[in-house]
């Protein structure tokens, strides 16, 4: 028996979210007294055996050109075959873009109960219960899974990556691979940018910045912190910033280590997407801004004055 972890990669690169899933899955395996195994469906430039340091003992690698792009229908069938070979009782995904497409399909295919967006290890003391966020992070729920096989997708940034010693045995796996019905014709990636949902630090700004021309100081701050940039909904709606920066209840839900909110009032719908951030810093000129109630640190002041100073101060400690 095993815990099988889906190792998600893009352009030959294992995604950070997969290291989290590997660490998390290996911990579950330890808890259940079974082995942790991985499955990878693409060619990865990284030495797969070295992923053993996260606790996986064995990695099934399926190589097939039809798997170059993620097609949930095709991937699901292949992962189901690997799951059977590995006698998996728990299958772990990251609840990222690919996980959201594949995990539900696999759950339906294998009639294996799914917990989407888990934030902690399962409680196996009495059955199998997993904690996840609900109501856009305003609450959590403990979900009991009654089926013999369980599918868990782990919320990004919810579980700390831990690396130890060890190498994994990499075994080629021959699977029946269908021809994808979804054909990818074009991929655009903002190169060098840190994907918002994976970022450790996020610098975000709202309508308090007055206009798109003032985002330079936000980007400067993000740069010294190696942070991703985000914005409130009205900012994206007004096309000051691209839609893929919109965080909140109807945008991305994120959980970075540090969230810096500049000129954002802190409306309940905004907080819903960012309240799982570990540390929240608010910069707002209005001391009554509701965001201060949800913040860990705050500066009451004019963003145009505070933000450039903050960037300089950080530069100093970063040397």
């Amino acid at each position: 028996m095993s815990v099988l972890i889906f190792i998600d990669a893009a352009e030959g690169q294992v995604k950070k979210a997969s290291y989290e899933a590997l660490t998390y899955g290996a911990k579950i395996a330890e808890q259940l007294g079974v082995t942790a195994e991985g499955v990878v469906l693409s060619n990865v430039s990284e030495d797969l055996a070295s992923l053993g340091k996260y606790g996986v003992k064995k990695i099934y690698q399926v190589s097939n050109d039809a798997l170059d792009h993620m097609d949930a229908q095709v991937y699901t069938k292949v992962i189901a075959q690997v799951a059977e070979a590995s006698a998996a009782t728990v299958i772990v995904f990251s609840n990222n873009v690919d996980g959201k497409a594949i995990a539900p399909r696999l759950s339906a295919r294998m009639k294996a109960g799914l917990v989407a967006g888990a934030v902690a290890l399962p409680d196996t003391s009495n059955g199998f219960t997993v904690k996840k966020n609900v109501f856009s992070g305003k609450a959590f729920a403990n979900i009991s899974v009654a089926t013999p096989i369980k599918v868990i997708s782990l919320s990004p940034n919810a579980y700390k990556i831990e690396a130890g010693e060890g190498t994994a045995e990499v075994v080629p796996f021959t699977a029946t691979v269908d021809t994808p019905k979804v054909k990818v014709t074009n991929v655009t990636k903002a190169s060098g940018e840190i994907p918002l949902t994976e970022a450790e630090i996020v610098v975000s700004a709202g309508r308090g910045l007055k206009g798109p021309e003032n985002w330079g100081m936000v980007e400067d701050l993000a740069k010294v912190l190696h942070a991703a940039t985000a914005c409130s909904r009205p900012v994206a709606d007004a096309h000051w910033r691209p839609h893929n920066e919109h965080v909140g209840q109807t945008g991305y839900a994120i959980a970075p280590n540090l969230y810096i909110a500049i000129g954002i009032s802190g409306a309940i719908q905004h907080l819903a997407g960012v309240n799982r951030s570990k540390v929240i810093v608010v910069i707002n000129k209005d001391p009554e801004a509701p965001f201060f109630k949800a913040a860990d640190y705050g500066i009451v002041g004019d963003a145009f004055d505070v933000v450039p100073k903050l960037t300089e101060a950080i530069k100093k400690i970063k040397g």
Partner: protein, 247 residues
């Protein structure tokens, strides 16, 4: 062209989140219910746009829920659905709900099935993928753009740090998010018309439930904000570095 749009009912985004019955039930007291924003703003409006481009298009709405979902279904009809089907159930298990929706979808032989990206209460992001698997259809999730030419759909979907354009032959299941369309408000004519549009209630088919909610909880409250003087940003940096260990 026949389109099925999956519509769910969620608490208003400002609703107070509290629980009753020893933290096993969401407290519905005083809660305003809305159409899940992703279903309304993106999935449904996209379907309406497709109908505007080709008036022979038929839009059906489906909801798995109790009679208390009827008002939001009527609102969706007012926005532009032609008729609605409600599967009478109170279940919250994704697989059970997806099984019901897939059954309706099979009966109606739709060319296109739209869901929202996720419900803002249970945040499963799961129903669309499950329906696709139960029907053995392709699934394009987290779509931000959708165009149709004949029976071929060109869909843009989100990937980490970018987007991907893909092509797929109908029928297909698509989950919609921001970018797909712009939110609309129902007009008087739509509201009047919605009163007489068919809303059919069907009983659920036999299906398994794979999960149950054992209990809910609220995250611990924040300790309170530490304010730093605007003239002293160095102090903020020191706190973030030494105390919070965040930078």
């Amino acid at each position: 062209m026949k389109i099925l749009v999956c519509i769910s009912k969620t608490p208003d985004t400002t609703a107070k989140i509290a629980f009753t019955d020893n933290n096993t039930k969401f407290d519905v007291n005083g809660v305003q219910w809305i159409i899940n924003p992703y279903d309304e703003w993106y999935a449904l409006v996209k379907a309406i746009e497709l109908k505007e481009a080709d008036p022979s298009t038929v839009i059906h709405l489906v909801n798995a829920g109790g009679a208390d979902a009827d008002p939001i279904i009527r609102k969706a009809l007012a926005l532009g659905g032609d008729e609605a089907i409600r599967v009478n159930t109170d279940s919250h298990d994704s697989f059970y709900i997806a099984s019901q929706l897939a059954e309706v979808a099979k009966q109606g032989s739709y060319d296109l099935i739209f869901t929202g990206k996720e419900t803002i209460d249970y945040n499963g992001s799961s129903i669309g993928g499950m329906i696709a698997e139960l029907m053995d259809l392709p699934y394009v999730s987290l779509a931000t753009k959708f165009e149709l030419s004949g029976t071929k759909a060109t869909v843009t979907r989100e990937i980490e740090g970018g987007e991907e354009v893909c092509e797929v032959e109908l029928p297909v299941v698509v989950s919609a998010q921001k970018g797909m369309a712009e939110a609309r408000i129902p007009n008087m004519r739509g509201i009047m018309a919605a009163r007489t549009k068919p809303l059919k209630v069907v009983e659920p088919v036999a299906a398994d439930s794979l999960t149950t909610v054992a209990g809910f909880g609220l995250p611990p409250a924040k300790a309170g904000v530490k304010l730093v003087d605007a003239e002293n940003v160095d102090e903020l940096v020191r706190l973030l570095h030494e105390e919070a260990k965040a930078i």
